[in-house]
C-alpha cells in the first residue's frame, strides 16, 4: 500500500508540473506538442521490457514483446515526426536581417 501512496504523490505533482508547462506552449506548436507527447507516452516500453524479460517463454513474455513493438512505434515515430515538423518552422529571413 505504501508504494501506491508514493505513486499517487508523484503522479499528482507531475500533473501540476504538466499543467504549468503546457499552458505556456503557444498554439503554433500544438501539433508538435501532441506528436511529441505520443513519443513520451511511449515510455511504456520500459515496462514492456521488464514484462518481456524472461527466459521461460510464456504468454507473459509474448505479450511483453508485442508491447515493446507498439511502444517503440510511438517512441521512434513520435520523436522523428516531431523533429521533422519542428524543422519546418522557419523565421522570416528578411525580418531576421532587419533586426
Amino acid at each position: 500500500m505504501e508504494s501506491l501512496i508514493v505513486s499517487i504523490y508523484v503522479f499528482t505533482l507531475a500533473v501540476f508540473i504538466g499543467f504549468e508547462l503546457i499552458t505556456k506552449v503557444p498554439p503554433l506548436l500544438h501539433t508538435p506538442l501532441m506528436s511529441g507527447s505520443n513519443a513520451i507516452s511511449g515510455i511504456t516500453v520500459v515496462g514492456a521490457i521488464l514484462a518481456a524479460n524472461s527466459n521461460n517463454w510464456g504468454l507473459s513474455t509474448v505479450l511483453g514483446i508485442l508491447a515493446i513493438a507498439f511502444a517503440m512505434i510511438n517512441v521512434i515515430g513520435g520523436f522523428m515526426v516531431t523533429d521533422r515538423m519542428l524543422g519546418m518552422f522557419k523565421k522570416d529571413k528578411k525580418v531576421e536581417k532587419g533586426e
Partner: protein, 459 residues
C-alpha cells in the same frame, strides 16, 4: 545497481520536463524535443542493462520491429495526415499499456495485495478504451468510416451499463484474482466502451477527441507505472495526460462547446444544413473572378489571410505562400490569422503553412490579430466559414453563438474564396456573404489562388 536505475529514471523524467518547457518557444522547441529524446534513450538503455540485456534476444527484436515501423511512418506521413497518425499512435500507447498490465496479471501468484490488483484493472481498462477509441477516431479521420455521428438506440444507457459492468468485474477480480475470466470481461467491456464512446462524435469535433485520447494515452502509461511502481512511467504519463487535457479544453473553448456537449451532444445528426439562408429574403450574391480580386490587390496596403481547412483539402498552401510572397514584394503588409480550430487537430494549420515555407512570425493567433482587422484593407478568407461568421456575436439562437471568431468583417473589404455558398459544419448561414463589402470568388481554393497569382504576375 538499483540506485543507478532509479537515478537514471529521475534524470530521464527531468529531461522530459525540460523538453516540454523548451516547447514554450518556437526557437527552442527542436532542442527541447531532442532533450526528451535523450531522456527516452537513457531510460530504455538503463532498463536493458538492469534487466540483463545479454539474455533475451526477443526484446531487441521487438524494439527493432517497432522502431522500424515508427521510422517509416514518420518519414512517409503527409502533414495533412498528422491527425490520423496521432490518433493511431494514441491507440498504440493504449494497447502497449494493456499488454504490459495483462502480462503482469498472468504472472500473479495469488499473493498480491489489493492495491496491485486495482492498479492492474485500471491499467487494463484505460489502455483498452484508448486503443479501441483511437482506432475509431483514426478510421473516421482516414475516411474508412463515415465522419457523421453514429448514435445507437439507448446509447448513453449502454455506456453506463458498460461502466457499471467494468466496476462489477473489477470487484469480482479483486475478490478472486485467480479467475482470469473477470480480467477478460473487463477488457471486453473496455473495448466496447472505447467504440461506443467515439462513434457518436462527428468529424468536425475530431480535434477534441484526438486531444482527449492523447490525454488517455498518457493516463494509460501512468497506470502502467502504478502497476510496476515505476516513477518515470508515472511522471511521463502524468505530463502527457495533463497536456492532452489542456488541449481538449482549448479546443472546446475555441468552438464554444462544453466537453460534455462534444462527447454526448452528437451535433449534426439531423441534416439541417439545407435550411441555411432560407426563410429570410433571398439576397443575391455577386460572384467575382480571380482577376477582379487581383485588381483590388493592386490598390491595397495590407492584407490578412485567413486560412481554413478547405485550403488544406485543396492542397493550396504552397501557392498561397507564393501569393503572399508576391504581395509582400509589392510592399503590401501580409499577415496570416490562425483560428484555434483551423485544421483537423490543435495547431494543424500552423504546421501545414510551415511546410509550405510560410515563416512562423507572420502567423498570428486569434487574440493577437483580432484588433488589426479594422485597419486592414483586405481580409482574404480561404476555405474557412464558421470561424469568421459574425452570427457568432449576435444571433442568440445560432449554434455558433458565443464562439470566438476572427473579426474579418471589420476589414475594409472581405474576400471569400469558397467552393459554394454552403454553410459550414455548424449549418449556420454566413450573413457576411451578402455584405456590400464582400467579394465572393467561387472555386477550388488552389485553382482560384493560382489564377490570382497568375494575374498578379501579368500586370
Amino acid at each position: 545497481m538499483i540506485y543507478l536505475e532509479q537515478f537514471s529514471y529521475l534524470f530521464a523524467s527531468a529531461l522530459f520536463i525540460l523538453g516540454l518547457k523548451f516547447l514554450g518557444s518556437a526557437k527552442t522547441a527542436r532542442k527541447g524535443m531532442q532533450l526528451a529524446m535523450y531522456g527516452m534513450g537513457l531510460a530504455i538503455v538503463i532498463t536493458l542493462v538492469v534487466s540483463g540485456i545479454a539474455g533475451p534476444v526477443q526484446i531487441i527484436v521487438g524494439m527493432l520491429i517497432g522502431g522500424g515501423i515508427g521510422a517509416v511512418v514518420a518519414k512517409k506521413i503527409q502533414m495533412t495526415s498528422m491527425p490520423q497518425m496521432v490518433a493511431l499512435f494514441n491507440g498504440f500507447g493504449g494497447i502497449a499499456s494493456t499488454l504490459v498490465a495483462y502480462s503482469e496479471y498472468i504472472r500473479f501468484t495469488g499473493a498480491e495485495a489489493m492495491d496491485v490488483n486495482i492498479t492492474v484493472i485500471l491499467s487494463l481498462f484505460i489502455g483498452t478504451v484508448t486503443f479501441t477509441g483511437s482506432l475509431i477516431a483514426f478510421a473516421k479521420l482516414q475516411g474508412i468510416m463515415r465522419g457523421a455521428p453514429i448514435v445507437l438506440p439507448l446509447h448513453q444507457i449502454l455506456n453506463i451499463l458498460l461502466l457499471l459492468g467494468t466496476i462489477t468485474f473489477g470487484v469480482m477480480n479483486v475478490l478472486s484474482p485467480d479467475v482470469h475470466m473477470w480480467a477478460w470481461f473487463i477488457i471486453a467491456a473496455a473495448a466496447i466502451f472505447g467504440i461506443t464512446f467515439v462513434i457518436p462524435i462527428g468529424g468536425a469535433d475530431m480535434p477534441v477527441v484526438i486531444a482527449l485520447l492523447n490525454s488517455y494515452s498518457g493516463l494509460a502509461a501512468a497506470a502502467t507505472g502504478f502497476v510496476l511502481s515505476n516513477n518515470v512511467l508515472i511522471i511521463s504519463g502524468a505530463l502527457v495526460g495533463a497536456s492532452g487535457l489542456i488541449l481538449t479544453q482549448l479546443m472546446c473553448d475555441a468552438m464554444n462547446r462544453s466537453l460534455t456537449n462534444v462527447l454526448f451532444g452528437a451535433v449534426g445528426t439531423d441534416d439541417s444544413t439545407g435550411e441555411a439562408g432560407a426563410g429570410g429574403e433571398q439576397k443575391s450574391v455577386t460572384a467575382y473572378t480571380a482577376e477582379d480580386a487581383a485588381m483590388i490587390m493592386d490598390t491595397i496596403q495590407s492584407v490578412i489571410i485567413v486560412p481554413g481547412y478547405g485550403l488544406a483539402v485543396a492542397q493550396a498552401q504552397h501557392v498561397l505562400h507564393e501569393l503572399g510572397e508576391i504581395l509582400t514584394a509589392r510592399g503590401i503588409d501580409v499577415k496570416y490569422a490562425i483560428h484555434p480550430v483551423a485544421g483537423r487537430m490543435p495547431g494543424h494549420m500552423n504546421v501545414l503553412l510551415a511546410e509550405a515555407n510560410v515563416p512562423y512570425d507572420v502567423l498570428y493567433e486569434m487574440d493577437d490579430i483580432n484588433d488589426e482587422f479594422q485597419n486592414t484593407d483586405v481580409a482574404l478568407v480561404i476555405g474557412a466559414n464558421d470561424v469568421v461568421n459574425p452570427s457568432a456575436r449576435t444571433k442568440k439562437d445560432s449554434p455558433l453563438y458565443g464562439m470566438p471568431i476572427l473579426n474579418v468583417d471589420y476589414a475594409s473589404t472581405v474576400m471569400f474564396v469558397k467552393r459554394s455558398m454552403g454553410a459550414g459544419f455548424a449549418g449556420e448561414a454566413n450573413p457576411l456573404f451578402f455584405d456590400d463589402k464582400t467579394m465572393m470568388v467561387f472555386g477550388d481554393a488552389k485553382a482560384v489562388v493560382t489564377a490570382l497569382v497568375k494575374s498578379l504576375k501579368e500586370d
